[in-house]
């Protein structure tokens, strides 16, 4: 679907590492290049035409993001450098001042490092307690979350879709539970926002983090969404230009209001404008259509995979658009190098979820992750190569 929009696909390439990053359509590339070739200027400053145009373009993206995730107010959208940055700001700009020693934060072992390490640091810093919701067949269930809530639970922080197995968590139900129990709900949307429709109100999400580059946009830019009342109490983790209203040599400082207060320094203007173009592009296709196409691809792969007897798939029943697999008896990295020989890009490793192996009992996997521009024909080619995997060491050695 829409392959002609992606200039990189003119080369011989079967790109199946979309959970890591996605390819860029011409419209996104053009939006970034136009900023650099036609109207370069800083934001929020000058009184000349190009600067005013930058302001307009930059702020327009905030509205696009708000509409894309069905938020209420532009001030709830903060531009960051990506999901990791957003999650760190939630932890060190808000939770650090909101939480008290002994308060509990619930996460799982299947989270990405970005949704574990900041919490572990905060645990060391102020004495909160990080607790892991036990997984049931690798899954988070509403019942399991419920069973692990105590009167000390103040935050639940979960990936909407995990990056290793692609299971989709019951976010709406957990969100409602959080609201009923007065627990803050943080959602890592890096693997979900690009693939399925998000509604922060319907899902009762208090904080949401995601990255532009996993949804056709440029690298180095992302979003922190927070409910207005929460963001108003969030402290900046970065101070400097663009975020202060006045300051004196004696230390009297007044910061600007939202969202500027949380966006110190010259922002990634080209990145933000590129992200805007990516959102326009995704909205044109329609998120429902994207989800549907990916589900079809996954189902098609699983059907074809039956022809490859030595293929072990770990997440057949998960809904998300990725396949975690190994060729029986072959180290995942060797498989990835073998596939690369046929210009097939997959990821091998533990996918930044290093403690999941304690639960999964498999240390490393290969991961195929689809996006809407992948095709059944590509899957046929992958299956053919996997069928010949007896030759793997003739190829990789």
């Amino acid at each position: 679907m829409h392959r002609e929009d992606f200039p990189i696909l003119k080369q011989e390439l079967i790109y199946l590492d979309n959970s890591a990053t996605t390819l860029k359509p011409q419209k996104v590339i053009d939006a970034v290049v136009d900023y650099y070739t036609k109207y370069t200027a800083n934001a929020h400053r000058g009184d000349y035409d190009n600067s005013l145009k930058v302001d307009m373009m930059y702020e327009e993206v905030r509205t696009k993001v708000k509409d894309f995730i069905h938020g209420n107010d532009e001030r709830e959208i903060i531009f960051t450098s990506g999901t990791t940055d957003s999650l760190n700001r939630i932890v060190f700009g808000y939770m650090k001042y909101f939480l008290k020693p002994g308060d509990e934060v619930l996460i799982t072992k299947a989270e990405h490092a970005s949704n574990i390490l900041p919490w572990l640091e905060l645990e060391k810093e102020i004495g909160i307690k990080v607790k892991y919701i036990p997984l049931e067949n690798h899954l988070v269930t509403l019942k399991n979350v419920e069973n692990n809530i105590t009167d000390k639970t103040k935050v639940i922080s979960l990936a909407h879709i995990t990056n290793v197995l692609g299971d989709i968590r019951p976010i709406t139900e957990i969100g409602k539970l959080c609201r009923d129990c007065h627990i803050l709900f943080v959602v890592d949307g890096a693997q979900s926002v690009p693939h399925i429709k998000i509604d922060v109100n319907e899902m009762n999400i208090d904080f949401l983090a995601f990255s532009a580059h996993k949804m056709l946009g440029p690298t180095g830019v992302g979003v922190l969404y927070g409910r207005l009342g929460l963001l108003e109490n969030m402290k900046p983790t970065c101070f400097g230009g663009g975020m202060n209203a006045t300051f004196t040599s004696t230390g009297e400082v007044e910061y600007k209001s939202l969202p500027s207060r949380l966006e110190a320094g010259t922002p990634n203007i080209a990145g933000v404008i590129g992200m805007g173009a990516a959102i326009d592009y995704l909205m044109d296709i329609g998120m429902e259509n994207i989800t549907k196409q990916e589900r079809n691809l996954k189902a098609y792969f699983l059907e074809k995979a039956k022809e490859v007897p030595n293929l072990v798939i770990y997440n057949k029943e998960m809904e998300g658009s990725l396949i975690a697999f190994n060729i029986d008896g072959i180290f995942s990295q060797d498989t990835a190098v073998y596939l690369n020989h046929y210009h097939i890009c997959v990821r091998a490793g533990n996918h930044c979820a290093k403690i999941l192996k304690e639960d999964l009992l498999v240390k490393n996997t290969c991961r195929i992750s689809f996006y809407f521009y992948n095709t059944e024909k590509e899957i046929d080619q992958v299956i053919e190569v996997l069928k010949k995997s007896k030759e793997i060491f003739q190829i990789v050695l």
Binding site: S332, Q333, V337, G349, K363, F393, V396, L397
Partner: protein, 139 residues
Amino acid sequence: MDPTLKRRIMLEHYEHPINRGLIEDDTYIKINTNNESCIDNLDIMYKIENGRISDIRFDGEACVISISATSIMIKNLIGKTKEQIMEILENYENMIDQREYDEHILGELNVYHDIYQQPNRKKCALLPFESLKKILEKM
């Protein structure tokens, strides 16, 4: 080197590595080697006696290059003195980085002579030797 022979040597060491499996013995020095660029993860244990490495054992999960290189390293180094090991190490690193080296002292390690053609796998071939450097400091 003949590609078929080269492959056969690597596969032999991959499928039947020398001294795979760790033992409980405090007289060994145990080092974890974790390849920062990828996912190989090996534990290697060394025993030093009378100025020589008298035994090396290893275990872990890694790719065909790392496992075979570890096995060949073990085969080549047991019984060697610090000076001999340093000479092998220097020549091996020179070979991997396409500098001048003496192939005569590298034995089966010569199978990695063209690994530079796959830059992402150079680290795999060097992986076991990273732990060896820490051992040399103790000899």
